[in-house]
Symmetry: C2
């Protein structure tokens, strides 16, 4: 008797479907396509020479080299957690290393929090639109999504209040340069969000993946920073997810979760059972690279991404018809387009790839309720300046043509 694999696969695992973005990227990789689709950093900005030195120094040191090739503790290297704690303190969120767990990128942090806090039917509040990868991680636990609309200042507080009043006790929010919209919350809205969460004893998962990519000076205080817990390592309303993927390189897969200790202690057990620990050498290399390169390297990449954003916005201002509106992000990698109501961005993408040789991500996938048919996410992170301008011009021409049909 042969194994009927599809019969053996459990219901939780069936909840996942293939990502639109990922399938799309296969086509968008072709050199003739100007791609605003991927949310990946510009590899030209990777500090390759610095990494060569870091790897060489580490492997020249017999004791440190061998230690970095061995198994290590599930919590993550204490020295790296100290660096992260020091960095959090600098931005006004002092926490102990006992509040920090190293994860395989922020994505694994999201997955582990979903395993810890979600179960079939439990409600989770998400922004409309929200980060697709987070919803994919959450969906393996088959929760019920409660979508909250966004205005220019952040999530609509009355809707957040209604969501918590309806029973939800967990919200996933991205206050800084959000993927996919590039939007940030105002300080007033951050305070209001925290106040509402505290009113109901609800927990906030704060995605800070893009927080350091700020192009207009300092960022506003994070929700974690505003969540003053004093010296109590067990308390707090906010769990923050961070990563080196956007500031150093993605391939090390080094992210972290900063959370009250009861959460960290459970996540450590999940790590032990799930993957033992994050690559020791990658943690050591990320630490040495961060010590060596920050903050100077951050200025370098901010300058480069700011120029790309400015080029994309200038091209939009020049070429896009008045029927198209778009965000003007102060950081991150993304600009969010709202097209005329009669344009379906999935159909537009097919034509854009075929005729205009431009790629972007249709916005619908970022909405928990599958609304947003006339929206699109554009990344300015990867293409060179001249191709950004060319691509926007081509896309604008296509939109004008489609809109007038």
């Amino acid at each position: 008797m042969t194994v009927q694999w599809n019969d053996l696969i459990v219901r939780d695992a069936r909840a996942l479907t293939a990502s639109e973005i990922r399938d799309l990227l296969k086509v968008a990789d072709r050199p003739e396509i100007i791609s605003f689709a991927g949310g990946v950093p510009d590899p030209a900005l990777f500090p390759l020479d610095a990494f060569r030195t870091v790897y060489d120094d580490l492997t020249q040191d017999d004791a440190a080299g061998r230690r970095s090739l061995q198994y290590s503790i599930s919590e993550g290297l204490p020295a790296l957690r100290h660096w992260i704690a020091d960095d959090l303190a600098l931005i006004g969120a002092p926490r102990s290393i006992e509040n920090i767990l190293i994860t395989n990128g922020a994505q694994q942090g999201l997955d582990m929090l979903a395993r810890l806090l979600l179960e079939p039917g439990r409600e989770i509040v998400v922004e409309k639109p929200s980060y697709l990868g987070a919803m994919q991680a959450f969906s393996m636990r088959r929760p019920t999504y409660v979508g909250v609309n966004m205005d220019a200042d952040g999530p609509v507080i009355a809707e957040l209040d209604a969501a918590f009043a309806g029973g939800a006790r967990i919200a996933y929010l991205a206050p800084d340069f959000q993927n996919p919209t590039g939007r940030s919350y105002t300080l007033e809205r951050r305070l209001a969000v925290l106040e509402i969460a505290r009113k109901y004893g609800a927990a906030i998962l704060e995605d800070a993946a893009y927080s350091k990519l700020s192009y207009e000076g300092d960022v506003l205080p994070s929700l974690l920073a505003l969540d003053d817990v004093g010296d109590d390592q067990n308390a707090g309303t906010v769990i923050q997810l961070g990563t080196f993927s956007k500031t150093l390189v993605p391939a090390l897969r080094i992210g972290w979760v900063c959370a009250p200790r009861p959460v960290i202690e459970r996540l450590v057990l999940i790590t032990q059972a799930g993957n033992l620990h994050v690559s020791t050498i990658n943690q050591e290399v990320a630490l040495r690279a961060a010590r060596k390169l920050f903050p100077g390297h951050l200025d370098t990449i901010r300058d480069a991404y700011r120029a790309k954003r400015d080029t994309m916005l200038a091209a939009m201002d020049e070429f896009m018809p008045g029927t198209v509106s778009y965000t003007r992000p102060e950081g991150g990698m993304f600009i969010w387009l709202t097209l005329p109501e009669n344009i379906d961005s999935r159909q537009l993408l097919a034509q854009a790839l075929e005729d205009a040789k431009v790629a972007f991500v249709p916005g619908q996938a970022f909405f928990c309720d599958h609304s947003g048919r006339n929206t699109a996410r554009l990344s300015f992170a990867t293409e060179k300046l001249d191709r950004i301008r060319d691509g926007i011009e081509r896309l604008a021409l296509l939109i004008k043509r489609v809109h007038n049909q």
Copy 2:
């Protein structure tokens, strides 16, 4: 209102408890303790110089270096999967790279298979004793364990038959140099296991983590090799888990799952949602190191571990009382002790740490039914030869003393 974190944690996440081995290791790390507890490779055998060269070559190559620092596909690097497929073909198990997924160590493979195939109450067959880490990964899905006893040749076939007859359709088995016992199945027993699984259409998860650590020549064919699927990438009874952790270094966290395509396709979705992909640079470095070092390096570590095993067995033969029996493994890292019935190995451990300054792992944790109170796992992998002999002498003296009390 403060967040009541413990109330928010879901039932699946509560199923985990702290690992006895891990808590133990904190004490066993002290230099005065001769430790047979950890199942970790000897860092003196890590090919540090080769790794330095590999990292340097990779980061000197601008294109390859930048590519290895970028995001990559969830399936894993095709070149690495080709290397693994070629290696599997060499041991008689030809498979396509479409049947291979790269994971964060074999541990993540176990966790992902648990997420794919287990749900609360579903039965899974495990050996008595079995690998503790596997049962930890499985336990997050709250399955029902069906334990099968082992004799000198492998699992007792009548018990395996009864387990499948009772409704179980998944078995987790480790035919080569098992953790914790060091035992291997005979060829006849391997064939019988496959036959029984096929009789019921049951799936086998084969743990091959230690298969390459053979000290008496070639290993027997794996269950994967015996599971002839011809050219059908969708078929098969066996899913095999492999890793570089025991042959190269653990810290890269590079393992793999070899499975029929319907399984791999679902695991790729779990990877996308769970951690995007395994560290690109670690995959590239593992591939280059394997190409450069194998099979020569395997001979080096086999010679070193064989000498350690021989030293431990010779010391056991010399010092252990006749009331203690132990396995004589032909590979791997572990020897399994069965103590006199009146000795509880947990109590023995407390005395061993205090009086004899020797560490080992009590066997009970490896039994799904918490039997095996008088058993213990000893690793010969990490300590030097003279300390192995000293440690066994001290432990034997303690056992004699305790037994006569």
